[in-house]
């Protein structure tokens, strides 16, 4: 390795060491529970920003719908893991199946028309007619059914439930769900000018979250689905397990505190495995001929096209791959939360924050995306106590009952949006290649 290369890798190691040091510092100063919660979300954020980095860093695609794909992952986690509500299925009777069959038939008919007929205005009109008829039929048959489903014990269930399978299966399924939607959106908007993809993804993510919020028969809407089964043991069970108590005794730790730390460590292990796997795949892909082709397309579409590369197809491919990764991360997040809360999907938190991570970390560099995920999530969380402390300092001269002081203290939380915006703008201006710039192999 050359001298410059050595310096670069030393710098990279240093960044990650500082990051690890910060998390340890939180563990020492605040609490280890908090430090591990931050670590877990840092790991998930890192996976998410790896997904966005594929789209932006490898291919220059601007996806403003990260929230929607993450929400699809969350939906998958719920649908896979929750036990089915048999009463609701019984009450729904044939209605649910008729609805599903109508939906599948109209989609199949539309696809068949698209495949069989030559491209013409007639075909598009016909397809639209099929889709609209299917939709109206679906509403006529399915609306009464949804009402029945929502009436079954609305306080506890009022929805169809899920499949009752282990939640870990949901992670790849969440990825596939997100990838499927990404394929449809990408198929329509890629190949047009770059802003259209951005606007279309913004739209689809709003719609996905609206569906999650309002289709109570599917997701219980804003009533939330709580108590998703966990892939790791429960604290209460641990506290009654002999080997765990022995371990506590050996370490001299309090079983209650340590059980919660232990559970978080289990999650952290699972997330680290996923992160390392995705990172390994991404690095392999980036160094392969495929990765070189992607960068060639990104840097000069015209010449890549002239070399016989199908730019639109490659864009579609990488857009779907990135969305799959985001979907997996979304499923992981819902698993960690243990509940699906549709109203928690906020675009600023789920879309734009991830973008700050990628840009600050270093677009095009997978390690950069991971570092960005860690750094930005850490500051997003720690900005709140820091902001409060700062506001306390600023307002310390004001009298206790000052209205302005109360307002400033109350609104301190909103300052982190401003901070994130400033970080993004400063990074774009002074460090456009990020903390860990993309490495170009000569």
């Amino acid at each position: 390795m050359s001298r410059a290369g050595l310096l670069i890798s030393m710098r990279n190691v240093l960044y990650f060491a500082v990051m690890a040091g910060l998390i340890v510092l939180v563990g020492q100063m605040q609490s280890w529970n908090l430090a591990l919660s931050i670590l877990n979300l840092c790991l998930i954020s890192a996976v998410m920003s790896l997904g966005v980095n594929m789209q932006w860093g490898y291919a220059g695609l601007f996806n403003v719908g990260v929230m929607g794909f993450a929400a699809l992952g969350g939906l998958a986690a719920m649908l896979v893991s929750m036990p089915p509500v048999r009463e609701a299925w019984a009450a729904a009777g044939s209605g649910a199946w008729v609805g599903i069959i109508i939906m599948i038939l109209s989609i199949l008919a539309a696809v068949a028309l698209y495949r069989k007929l030559p491209k013409s205005g007639f075909r598009t009109v016909l397809i639209m007619l099929v889709v609209i008829t299917g939709y109206v039929l679906l509403r006529i048959f399915f609306d009464p059914t949804t009402a029945v489903i929502e009436k079954v014990n609305p306080a506890a269930t009022g929805y169809l439930g899920g499949l009752g399978l282990p939640i870990l299966i949901a992670w790849p399924i969440g990825g596939l769900l997100a990838g499927g939607v990404a394929w449809v959106v990408g198929k329509i908007t890629l190949g047009l000018r770059s802003d259209y993809l951005a606007i279309a993804t913004l739209g689809i993510s709003e719609i996905i979250v609206a569906v999650l919020k309002h289709e109570d028969w599917l997701t219980r809407g804003v009533k939330n689905v709580t108590g998703l089964p966990r892939p790791v043991p429960y604290e209460v069970n641990l506290q009654n397990t002999p080997w765990f108590l022995e371990l506590c005794e050996k370490l001299g730790a309090d079983p209650v505190t340590f059980s919660s730390i232990f559970v978080k460590l289990c999650y952290a292990t699972l997330f680290t495995v996923v992160l390392l796997f995705v990172l390994w795949l991404s690095e392999r892909a980036l160094r392969s001929p495929w990765g070189r082709m992607m960068r060639a397309i990104r840097d000069n579409e015209v010449s890549a096209n002239a070399m016989g590369k199908d730019v639109t197809a490659r864009h579609l491919q990488v857009f779907v791959l990135g969305s799959i990764v985001v979907g997996i991360a979304g499923a992981m997040l819902t698993t960690l939360d243990g509940q699906l809360t549709p109203s928690s999907y906020q675009p600023l938190r789920f879309t734009f924050l991830i973008w700050v991570m990628v840009i600050v970390g270093g677009s095009g560099n997978n390690w950069g995306a991971v570092l960005g995920g860690f750094v930005i999530w850490f500051f997003w969380i720690e900005a709140e106590p820091l902001g409060l402390w700062l506001m306390d300092l600023i307002t310390s001269g004001m009298s206790e009952d000052s209205g302005l002081r109360a307002h400033l203290l109350e609104s301190a939380a909103h300052m982190r949006l401003v901070t994130m915006g400033l970080i993004l703008l400063l990074a774009l201006r002074f460090r456009p290649r990020g903390l860990l710039p993309e490495r170009t192999h000569q």
Binding site: D195, Y196, A198, I199, P347, H414, L424, L428
Partner: protein
């Protein structure tokens, strides 16, 4: 006999009047987006939050005037506060341009870099608005509420369905017409407006013929800020002011601008009305309407609503997709960079 008339009155009250007002608001918003796109060549994601920012300043001035006892009689006080909102919003936007966009413009950065920068500006504006006025609903309309009340209309016509027109709706339409007329006069007749159009058509040629790019850019930002503040204030008067709603308006506004053809001011206005009318006709519940027009004793069961209002964003989105599929440059031919 009066049933078809009643049905028409019903539609006019619940579809046409709200859609015209909403369409005017969208048209004003889309004009701002399209101007920025035409001249600065990027989609400004901060536009929704610029609207929120300008409206917030207008609201603060409105409250101040209200506390001083200043009022316009039947018209809302916000109209006096509006110029202040425009000036301060324009100042803030120009500051953003100087500190953020100018650097990237000098570097001739990729359009997508501008879009990301606008996302950063959006963050900052959003945070400032939430910081200053809070994330909750704010009400700032005062004065008279209705031009025609449903009851008066019923007495006048003897129909069982009334049409009511709110003052805010009337003001919206009148303001929209004045603003659009002024804007078109400015773009077509004045020297600055002509230089803006020249710059939008061909930047290099415009620069060669001695047009000052800084001036063109500054005027564009001022116009965009003014349009955003006006659109935002009208929307806030008509419905209510909530920062997050303004962020969500971004989608219908972009849809309007794209449907009409990005970079084309006439298209933005047409697009605004297309989106507003489709959104409201698709989410309106036709139960009562059907009961009027279908003869005999037949009664509609269910709401006869094509799409729940929760999904009104889906309408803008679907129209957007259809335009992108069939006519990517929009109804009126827009630009494609």
């Amino acid at each position: 006999m009066s049933d078809p008339l009643n049905a028409a009155a019903l539609l006019a009250n619940f579809v046409v009047v709200p859609a015209v007002a909403y369409g005017s608001q969208l048209a004003l918003g889309a004009l701002g987006v399209t101007l920025i796109y035409g001249i600065l060549r990027f989609s400004n994601f901060a536009h929704g939050d610029t609207m929120a920012f300008g409206t917030m300043i207008t609201i603060l001035f409105t409250w101040w005037f209200q506390s001083m006892g200043l009022s316009l009689g039947p018209l809302p006080t916000a109209l006096i506060a509006l110029p202040f909102g425009i000036v301060l919003c324009a100042a803030f936007v120009l500051l953003c341009d100087r500190t953020v966009y100018r650097f990237h413009r000098a570097n001739r950065a990729d359009p997508v870099i501008f879009v990301i920068a606008s996302v950063g500006v959006m963050f900052v504006m959003n945070g400032l608005v939430r910081f200053i006025i809070g994330p909750d609903d704010q009400n700032f309309s005062d004065g008279q509420r209705f031009i025609i009340k449903a009851r008066e209309f019923k007495q006048m016509t003897g129909l069982s369905e009334g049409i009511s027109i709110k003052v805010s709706q009337g003001i919206t339409v009148v303001t929209m017409i004045i603003v659009v007329a002024a804007l078109f006069w400015f773009l077509n007749k004045t020297r600055t407006g002509k230089s803006m159009r020249a710059y939008s058509d061909n930047e290099d040629l415009a620069l060669l013929s001695g047009i000052n790019p800084d001036r063109v850019v500054a005027v564009t930002w001022i116009l965009a800020a003014a349009l955003a503040t006006i659109a935002g204030t009208l929307y806030g008067l008509d419905k209510s002011f909530k920062p997050f709603t303004y962020f969500q308006l971004l989608l219908p506004i972009f849809a309007s601008a794209i449907v009409g053809g990005l970079g084309n001011p006439l298209g933005a206005i047409a697009g605004g009305f297309v989106i507003a009318f489709s959104e409201i006709t698709v989410t309106y519940a036709y139960k009562k309407f059907a009961n009027y027009i279908v003869p005999g004793d037949w009664k509609a069961d269910g709401l006869m609503q094509l799409l729940s209002t929760n999904y009104k964003f889906a309408v803008s989105f679907l129209i957007l997709l259809m335009v992108l599929l069939f006519r990517p440059t929009g109804i009126f031919k827009g630009k494609s960079v």
